[in-house]
């Protein structure tokens, strides 16, 4: 077993633990903090089903962002959609035998072209950060670095089209990690760079603004049904105030 394989093998275990435990812990934290008051924004659905529809539309279409600014919506939506397509393409590295629909030509091709779409969207977002004075004002170094990190992941991924790597060996490496039967990881530079950047992204996810992903589902302005008059909504800590008197 080469040093590279051992190093990346362990790193992926650690990063996966940080990502999943970190995220699970955040979600746990969010779920135990009460929302003591009803604060949904309009147009607020009256029922839980309505809330599900609203969240679906926010997650899939970025509806609020669309009404706010078309450029940010366009770049942001393209990037996220491309991310989804690329992720689906990558499933072939983690499923053995590969799920039948993952190997479909259309899924694989879409995943590939999504790489370009992703870079396009991200550069658009970066451009806004640099050229729109208001967005520049609020941007911290981490905001630029985050974009650059994801652009680099996409670019190194795309580069592998020209700098070939033994993708079957890569697949066996990941499947091996999943079933605890390790196998060698090819030590091609671009591949290792791609994987290193992905590792970094996994580690910072639960500690960064990437928490907007779970955050949206816990956002009281979006996830509460508007039924304050029909149902008494009261948090535990507020209840205690009542028994005091």
């Amino acid at each position: 077993m080469s040093f590279v394989t051992i190093f990346y093998g362990i790193s992926f275990y650690v990063a996966t633990l940080i990502l999943f435990i970190g995220l699970a812990y955040r979600i746990y934290e969010y779920s135990i903090i009460p929302a003591p008051l009803k604060i949904p924004t309009p147009p607020a659905p009256k029922t839980k089903k309505g809330v599900a529809v609203r969240l679906f539309r926010e997650v899939v279409f970025f509806e609020s962002l669309f009404s706010a600014t078309k450029w940010t919506w366009l770049f942001g939506w393209l990037f996220h959609f491309a991310l989804l397509l690329a992720a689906l393409r990558h499933l072939r590295y983690f499923t053995d035998p590969v799920w039948f629909w993952v190997s479909w030509e259309i899924v694989q091709a879409a995943g590939h072209y999504a790489g370009y779409m992703m870079v396009f969207g991200l550069i658009g977002l970066l451009g806004r950060r640099i050229f729109v004075d208001r967005v520049r004002y609020i941007s911290n170094p981490s905001d630029y670095l985050m974009l650059i990190l994801i652009i680099s992941i996409a670019l190194t991924g795309l580069l592998m089209k020209w700098f070939h790597t033994d993708i079957y060996a890569v697949k066996m490496f990941f499947v091996g990690l999943m079933y605890f039967q390790w196998s060698e990881l090819p030590s091609d530079f671009i591949l290792l760079l791609h994987l290193s950047l992905v590792l970094l992204l996994m580690i910072i996810f639960p500690y960064s603004k990437l928490l907007h992903a779970p955050g949206l589902f816990f956002s009281p302005t979006r996830n509460q049904p508007d039924n304050a008059r029909d149902q008494r909504h009261i948090s535990d800590w507020a209840k205690k105030l009542e028994s005091k008197k």
Partner: protein, 499 residues
Amino acid sequence: MAVKEFEKPILKEYSPIPKLVEQATSHLAPFKSKEDFQKSLGYPGELVDNWQEVALGKMGDLLKKYRSLRVYMDSCIQCGACTDKCHYYLGTKDPNNMPVGRQNLMRGVYRKHFTLPGKFFPKLVGAVDLTKEVLDDWYSYYHQCSQCRRCAVFCPIGIDTAEISMAAREIMDSVGVGQKYCNEIIGKVHKIGNNLGLPKPALADTLEGLEEDVEEDIGVDVKFPLDVKGADVLLITPSADFFAEPHVDGLIGYAKVFHQAGISWTLSSHASEAANFGMFIGSYDNMRKLALRIREAALDLGVKRIVFGECGHAWRVAYSFLNTLAGPFDFLDPRYPVPQHICEVTHDLINKNVLQFDKSANDGKIITFHDSCNVARASNMGDIIGGQFSLPRDIIKATTNNFYDMDDETIMEKTFCCGGGGGLLTDDLIELRMKGAQPRMEALKRVVEDHGVTHMAAICAICKSQFSKAFQYYGFELDQIISLHQLVGDALIMNKKEL
């Protein structure tokens, strides 16, 4: 203390998004609350010695009590979608008045003290210590937010800057830095029952005067009852309705509606205030205490329904929070929602043909309608989605012949704040108020020019007061702002049988 002169904004046809000007309104901050006002609300009288420790402790506490605060501190993508959505940014150009800029004043401290990256790499993520300068910035800019939630409508995550302003104000109160205007007023309600500090005899006098005026005016003996046990409806209305113009014409309108519909009603001297400034300072405790006065009054008078008059944030507290704060209201008539808005009552009576109107009484006026933020973005009416927009408009259309809406981008859930909400309706913030009114004034100017609009109707006491000032400032007439129920009262055909 005189307020500094400031440059008057020019109303344009369509203002482009302004280029930011750093520190443009860093000099603005409301007067600080005096020691006795602070103490009467249970806060320290002045900045405590170990204020940093206390403030961070309070912040940690709020992060565990309010999911909104915690999730919103973590989840902002710094995408900038909200940056041009705040009327205060549009009016002042100060980047700390961009919603995300305002949030970041707290987010920096949150990152430094409550997150790992902020502890280890403060520069990278914009984490800062809670220094005296930061506290001063908080005081200044968290009092340049009217908690109107316009930003929350546009944010992809639904981040509501109002939640953050409220938390900031509560943290500041907990270390002894409170705002005079709000805290003085809350103290008055705790003691006397209304924002004006108007005791029962004076209130009774005022109402009697109103009865005489109306009788003289239309020859109908419309009552303004106070503390009448056994009345059906308890009316809770902002105390400005008792005195101020154009508010009082709204109150006369409600009274005429009740009279004509034959609904017995009463005001309460114990709960003679709809406003609940406890919300503005983010204090659940104070908000709850104020809300409980309404419950007490309803129980004491033995009413069957609670109806709220025209007041924006009061309706938010009433519609969205009252059941939480002071419920359950199972002792009231279950056929009616608790509480109801006066617009819901009037709308319902119109639908049932109980009220008849002579629209020509309002023919001298061409009307537009200002959606008040707290009604538009934090409540509802009539239990249909969007009822808070359609009910008032239906009423206007039933009582007048000429109605034109302002631009779509400036009404309904996208409405612009009047510039004076959120506990900022004080003369020490007049510069902010006038600059913050600019987007609304521009939208108004367009309908004035395009459709000859003569009057703007509103259903919020703060909006009405603020517009009275802003209209004069921007070259409109003071009396062009009216209460929605003035239109109702003026057009309502009254039964004169009692004479």
